[in-house]
């Protein structure tokens, strides 16, 4: 049933907490610390320092699994750097890079099952590609060919959303439809720290909790909303605390620790799939580059701060861990680098190709069938283009 009374949902949450042998308060708010499994040097932290509260089991991912995740991480970093280069070369209009946030990007995709959905923001291109969307289709939006380059239903990935948090409600709707049909789909809904101030953030979390929908809200707290630091967005002790007000568990995780991210997000996805309702995961990370190529980050943050986060880099941390485990030899590193280079080459080839847009596409998709008014306007443009073509061929003949 889609609706439930307050009483019913409280009982259900209680039951979830009981399953872990902890109180409802401890289930809802294990936020006294951020969960961190890998230290910055790539060593596993002592269990008592991992920040996991009693009763919360975070399954350590298998080593093979982590190697695949590392490969995605390296590819993600390469994609970010390649795209920024393509912007500098004028091949793309804009690219909001997730450089520094790649562990979050990769984990967001790898925590999901085949039939699960993701609703990303404009900064989540790496997550979108990791979920399986074709790299060049992903970049269509930023090249300026069209406002979206892939079929969301084919990949189960919403079009990267530019307005803040409006997509969280679409995630809620997709989950609601799935639940009404008795499917066990989970939906990951992504947003940033600044976006948590938007009204739709509130409405989406509340709807998801009231209807007990299988949605995992994944907030990448990269410390800045363009130029405005987190302290100017909220007075809450953490963004994870916001979940509690909706009757939803909120967790914090080190967003540059791929091992911890996979552990926390996979647990959240499993709980959502089991019918325990939505969860919120706040990942602490850092946007290493400016908001976009049009932004100048030196106007609002100190280089010392950037350097500090450089030392926490998710890629080097994961590489150190895997090397320490003897899971990465030179051959393996070479293979992964080649696979990243292949994706970068595909991006270069795809985005360097000159594809002339069809002006008539303006009218094709406004409605399922163009209205008479759109047909008239389409004919007007066709006539205008035909006359321009005739003029230029006349000129050429002269």
């Amino acid at each position: 049933m889609s609706t439930s009374t307050d009483g019913e949902s409280a009982v259900a949450l209680d039951e979830t907490a009981r399953r872990f042998g902890i109180t409802l308060e401890d289930y809802l708010l294990p936020t006294h610390g951020s969960i961190r499994i890998l230290a910055e040097n790539g060593e596993i932290r002592p269990v008592e320092e991992q920040g996991t509260a009693p009763g919360h089991e975070y399954p350590m991912p298998e080593l093979e699994d982590l190697k695949d995740a590392y490969e995605a991480l390296v590819v993600g970093r390469r994609v970010n750097d390649q795209n920024s280069a393509l912007v500098r070369q004028g091949r793309m209009a804009v690219y909001p890079s997730s450089h520094g946030q790649e562990a979050c990007q990769v984990a967001a995709a790898l925590c999901l099952g085949e039939g699960d959905w993701m609703f990303p923001t404009y900064r989540d291109s790496v997550a979108v590609m990791t979920k399986g969307v074709d790299p060049v289709e992903t970049m269509t939006l930023f090249r300026g060919d069209w406002h979206g380059g892939y079929d969301p239903t084919e990949y189960r990935v919403g079009i990267q959303c530019t307005p803040l948090t409006t997509q969280l409600l679409h995630a809620v709707g997709v989950a609601h439809a799935a639940k009404l049909r008795g499917e066990d789909t989970v939906v990951l809904a992504m947003c940033g720290d600044g976006a948590t101030s938007e009204g739709d953030f509130h409405e989406a979390l509340n709807f998801a909790a009231v209807f007990k929908l299988p949605v995992v809200f994944f907030v990448q707290n990269n410390q800045y909303a363009i130029s405005v630091p987190l302290a100017h967005q909220t007075a809450a002790p953490s963004l994870a605390h916001k979940a509690v007000g909706y009757g939803m568990a909120g967790e914090r995780v080190d967003g540059n620790d791929l091992v911890a991210l996979l552990a926390v997000l996979r647990r959240a996805v499993r709980l959502a799939r089991d019918g325990s309702g939505p969860l919120l995961v706040e990942a602490h990370t850092y946007r290493m580059q400016a908001h976009t190529n049009a932004d100048d980050a030196t106007r609002y943050r100190q280089d010392a701060e950037v350097q500090e986060w450089m030392a926490k880099d998710p890629v080097t941390r994961m590489r150190a861990y895997l090397a320490g485990q003897g899971a990465l030899d030179d051959g393996e590193e070479e293979r992964i680098a080649a696979s990243a280079e292949a994706v970068a080459a595909a991006l270069r080839d795809g985005l360097n190709a000159e594809v002339a847009p069809d002006p008539q596409d303006l009218f094709r998709y406004v409605f399922t069938e163009p209205t008479p008014q759109l047909r008239e306007q389409s004919a007007l443009l066709a006539d205008e283009l035909a006359r321009t073509a005739a003029d230029s061929s006349e000129e050429a003949a002269r």
Binding site: S2, P152, L180, Q373
Partner: protein, 383 residues
Amino acid sequence: MTVTTSSDANGNVSTATAQAVRETARESERQSRPAAPVTLAKALNTALADAMEASGDVVLFGEDIGTLGGVFRITDGLTARFGEHRCFDTPLAESGIVGMAVGMAMNGMRPVVEMQFDAFAYPALEQIFSHVAKMHNRTRGAVRLPMVIRIPYAGGIGGVEHHCDSSESYYAHTPGLKVYAPSTVADAYRMLREAIDSDDPVVFLEPKKLYWSKDAVDLDALRAAYDGGSRSGAPGTPHGAAQRAAQRTEGRAVVAREGTDATLIAYGPSVPTALAAAEAAAAEGRSLEVVDVRTIVPLDDETLCASVRKTGRAVVIAETPGFASVASEITARVQERCFHSLAAPVLRVTGFDVPYPAPKLEEYFLPSVDRILDAVDDLQWEA
């Protein structure tokens, strides 16, 4: 087709013309075969129920629409009949309602959501403008959003502020939205069924002053015509499909009253006022044609212009403030297309460009029969 207005809805109709309306209604009742009068609200409720029966993908949600049946009772009985998973209350959040509907429509459902009042839909405008209207275009047609946003709209009921706005121009101005505004009981049924069956998102504007107006229509015949003679929800027969196509309303304005001297163009709540004006004009020897626009988007330029070319004069009537409005757009289009047939500039009778007034002042704001007749008088009749 004749529309009678309820006693509390005809405050802007002069006593003489209200009398004329009543007489016409009686005349029409005498001529038609006996059919029990049906309210527009009942027609909408029946359309929702029939659509829910026809497809399990149709789900209804909004504020107070479940147990209560909606503040206007349009969803009355639907939760009891179809279950809480098909018709349910949401938390109080209009953006949430519309945004969730977008996601449900992306994932195979046909949501029909209710905004409690016109101005209460404004929190949802970002979802409507940025996503409902654009998703199909953004995805090059990969994602269709078959959803309906029902909005009780416009004034004439003595409502308080935020309960009487004519918001059609905002929606009509936004590419990607279809905008329907029925004015009769029969159209309310047909148009809501069409809106729910449409693969494009539809903003469905329900003139709240007409909710309790009654027409003598055979609702069962309408239902059978829409469902191809089958009331079981089974797909219609070829004959049924033809019947439905013949009654299609989208993009088809209708001549609600024939006339020869001038055309009154109206939609939604203004149609009964236009009909009353035509009736009053007839008593003075002037024959006015009334065209009911029915769907603002897509607009039926052809029917509008055919009437104006025939009569050579036109007045466009709408409750909305006239500046940059649907009425302005219709006026411009008619003028562009019918210039050489016109004996006078096309005039508008609309609400003034002021915020919707308090109940005691709304009669001065709303287009009235007298104001329409004054505009008709101004159509340069002297050669």
